[in-house]
């Protein structure tokens, strides 16, 4: 046991003096968190701002008035209606930035609609256009669909032989005669990382493989430098050398991830929940990363090859886990991504953020530990190509 501690302590001292581990494990991910928060931080802001909309519509057109009334009744956003005299005024209001959105209802809108000729409503988005504008446009489309639906009902009435004088009533009834299909707010999952939360968790996960690589891949560097042979000639079991490298990697991984989550959480005001389940998640994700790097250490012939494979795997695992932005993937690809230990780590942090305890993080923990066990088994089974060469 003493041998392990001596080797581990010596390696840790070397790694700390060799500043590359501090740069890769702490400085780069923290710097990236800051810059990403600065640059795409705004994209994660989903507050819907109030929006001003200029409109022009033909006078004495009931359907046009109904279209606008229906659109402005939207309750998801606060909309201010600015009535303009004509289409040109709408455009100039949008151009000048006074309003975010312009809606121009064409002359003869009602007649074109009821005759089934399909009127076209012009929408102009300006400089001030934002998410709220997109919501208003979607609502406008919905009201137009409703009006088209009434026309379809009246036309179908004529086809089905409903008396002509009753067609207007059919059109009107189409909107109300059917059952009411209401949309209510469902219960959301609380296991949700905020934008900054996923940024911190993602960068911590992305750089983990690089960090633990500094420990395990020391084996290959020692082999190249000839110090491994010297260590092996010492009166101790050879397995202890590998165990010491694994321990160095594990300590580096745990310390770096803990520091990143703590510092990142403090800077961006993100809480990941209770300490114990977070600690369990960190211990598990580092275990899976260390096991994976052991597989690389066996397969690579040189330290350089190992570093390349580790960088590729680190990038692929980190990005597919959503370290930069969430990946919209379903089906087989989604399942495959779910088995990624970094994705499981981020998922676990989502659960702890929502107040989950150790009992709630069973699934991500199982994925990470399963990955660690499989990778550890693989690292024993695959041939040691570096020793063979």
């Amino acid at each position: 046991m003493r041998h392990i501690w001596i080797m581990t302590a010596s390696d840790l001292r070397q790694r700390v003096r060799d500043k590359s581990v501090i740069i890769f494990a702490l400085v780069v991910p923290l710097a990236l968190m800051f810059v990403f928060d600065l640059t795409f931080g705004g994209a994660g802001d989903i507050e819907l701002d109030p929006v001003d909309v200029a409109v022009s519509a033909p006078a004495d057109d009931q359907l046009a008035a109904g279209l606008l009334d229906g659109t402005f009744a939207v309750d998801a956003v606060e909309v201010t209606r600015v009535d303009a005299a004509d289409a040109d005024e709408v455009r100039s209001l949008v151009d000048s930035g006074e309003v975010a959105l312009g809606v121009i209802v064409p002359d003869g809108f009602g007649e074109t609609l009821t005759s089934g000729a399909g009127p076209v409503v012009q929408v102009v988005e300006g400089e001030a256009s934002n998410l709220s504008s997109s919501v208003v446009i979607t609502v406008l489309e919905a009201v137009l669909d409703r009006l088209t639906s009434a026309t379809v009902a009246a036309t179908a009435g004529a086809v089905a032989g409903v008396p002509h004088e009753e067609l207007a009533a059919v059109a009107e009834a189409a909107a109300t005669a059917g059952p009411r299909l209401a949309v209510t707010e469902g219960e959301a999952s609380t296991e949700q990382l905020s934008f900054s939360g996923s940024l911190v968790a993602g960068q911590a996960g992305l750089f983990l493989l690089f960090t633990v690589g500094f420990g395990v891949l020391g084996l290959l560097a020692e082999r190249e430098q000839g110090t491994l042979a010297r260590l092996q000639s010492m009166p101790m079991r050879p397995g202890l050398i590998v165990a010491a490298k694994g321990l160095v990697a594990y300590i580096l991984g745990v310390v770096a991830t803990a520091v990143l989550l703590t510092v990142g959480g403090m800077f961006f005001d993100v809480g990941f929940g209770a300490l114990l389940p977070i600690a369990v998640l960190v211990l598990c994700v580092v275990a899976s990363a260390v096991s994976l790097v052991f597989v690389i250490a066996r397969l690579a012939r040189t330290a350089e090859q190992a570093q390349i494979s580790q960088s590729i795997l680190g990038m692929v695992l980190g990005m597919s886990a959503g370290a930069f932005f969430p990946i919209t993937a379903g089906g087989f690809l989604g399942t495959l991504i779910d088995l990624n230990p970094i994705a499981a780590f981020m998922h676990g942090l989502g659960i702890t953020t929502g107040g989950g305890g150790v009992g709630d993080i069973g699934q991500p923990v199982a994925i990470m530990l399963g990955f660690a066990v499989l990778a550890a088994a693989a690292s024993r089974l695959v041939p040691d190509r570096g020793a063979a060469s």
């Binding site: 399909g118 669909d145 409703r146 299909l181 209401a182 989502g350």
Partner: protein, 386 residues
């Protein structure tokens, strides 16, 4: 001159023979262009996870959403909540067994919607509302006709005929904002290709600064200077070599994205000129880094980290046009922002040499300072190597 060319040739050969470059220089940039194009440039308008028993309600809702170009994934209730929580779907929809039965019977029902925290979530929630309204309208039309005395079967047939006769009312959206104009006419992969070009030219150059350190450590520099090669020639060779490596990466990305993703670079000689001047800035930065640090692993870390941070700040990961105003001003501290502006001018606005002169001037200024400082530092470090 011959000595400088020989050094350049050796460095370029070394770069090409480095196996790590097969992935990071040739494959990775193209994967990212593909990835960015697929994530941001696709025609989908939001993603919705739907859960509920199979039946007419779920089928009709999914069909309505898909008609509106929304990506739909069907999952169970927990799966749907998880998809929303993990940002893989903007919005989740929960259809209960009661709602499904009520839909079949033509009764009132409620659909539950879970809104996520993605930027697109509110818009997708509205898409769901529109789709549900569409279902209600379909039932309303049938009920109105039946109420007016039509036979249900005949009414359904008449509605099918009428749907073909009536042209739906539509909206036509034009966007007059500067940002929309800026990105109009831009192909799905064009922005991704331009941003990755800048990111990787800088990254490859800076990551290559480790070879400068290795040359000193392994004694290559000492041996070079022992031959009839002056320090000036050795430094000149290194400058040209760094430039050649950066430019090689740039030309590769431009050619590959044009061929594979049909990316339009505008006036090609001008786009190449911008890229080469930017590569010269990167070459200068690599010389500074490779001369200041003596630890190649640390230089690799600083090189990659600095390139990613400067790239993100300079608009190589997220369009600089979408930055807040203050940040956009700050971003112009990076050469990336100036190069991105020049490329945008050439790529999107048919800009000529005169239009990009200011940006080229700034980039040349950066290059001059960095190359001179780098050369001076390298010369000093060469003396140290002796």
């Amino acid at each position: 001159m011959r000595a400088a060319v020989a050094i350049t040739r050796v460095e370029l050969l070394r770069f090409l023979k480095d196996r790590s470059n097969i992935f990071f220089v040739f494959i990775f940039p193209l994967l990212l262009v593909l990835f960015i194009g697929a994530q941001f440039g696709g025609g989908s308008s939001g993603s919705v996870a739907v859960s509920g028993p199979s039946g007419a309600l779920r089928d009709d809702l999914v069909a309505q959403l898909e008609d509106a170009d929304v990506d739909v994934e069907v999952a169970d209730a927990d799966g749907m909540r998880e998809l929303v929580a993990r940002g893989r779907a903007d919005v989740g929809v929960l259809l209960t067994a009661e709602a499904s039965a009520a839909y079949d019977d033509g009764d009132d029902l409620a659909v539950q919607v879970v809104v996520g925290n993605q930027a697109q979530s509110q818009v997708s929630a509205q898409q769901v509302q529109t789709a549900v309204d569409g279902l209600a309208a379909a039932q309303g039309r049938l009920a109105a006709l039946v109420h007016a005395g039509a036979d249900p079967a005949a009414a359904e047939q008449a509605l099918t005929v009428a749907a073909e006769m009536v042209r739906p009312a539509e909206i036509e959206v034009t966007n007059v904002s500067e940002i929309a104009q800026e990105f109009s006419g831009l192909g799905q992969f064009d922005y991704g290709a331009a941003s990755q070009l800048l990111l990787f030219v800088f990254l490859t150059s800076l990551a290559g600064s480790t070879t400068l350190i290795q040359s000193r450590r392994l004694g290559v520099t000492r041996r070079t200077l022992a031959s009839p090669v002056s320090a000036m020639q050795a430094v000149g060779g290194q400058v040209v070599a760094r430039l050649a490596i950066g430019a090689f990466q740039g030309v590769y990305i431009m050619a590959a994205t044009s061929l594979l993703f049909d990316v339009q670079w505008g006036n090609l000689p001008l786009a190449v000129l911008v890229m080469v001047v930017f590569a010269l800035v990167a070459a200068g930065a690599a010389m500074v880094l490779g001369s200041v640090l003596d630890n190649d692993a640390a230089a690799g870390g600083v090189g990659v980290g600095l390139s990613l941070v400067l790239g993100a700040l300079g608009g190589a990961m997220y369009p600089i046009e979408l930055f807040p105003d203050t940040l956009r001003t700050v971003a112009h501290v990076t050469p990336h922002a100036w190069a991105a502006e020049a490329l945008a001018e050439v790529q999107r606005h048919d800009g000529g040499l005169v239009d990009i002169l200011p940006q080229l001037g700034v980039l040349l200024g950066y290059a001059a300072v960095l190359v001179l400082v780098g050369a001076w530092l390298l010369r000093r470090s060469l003396e140290r190597a002796l």
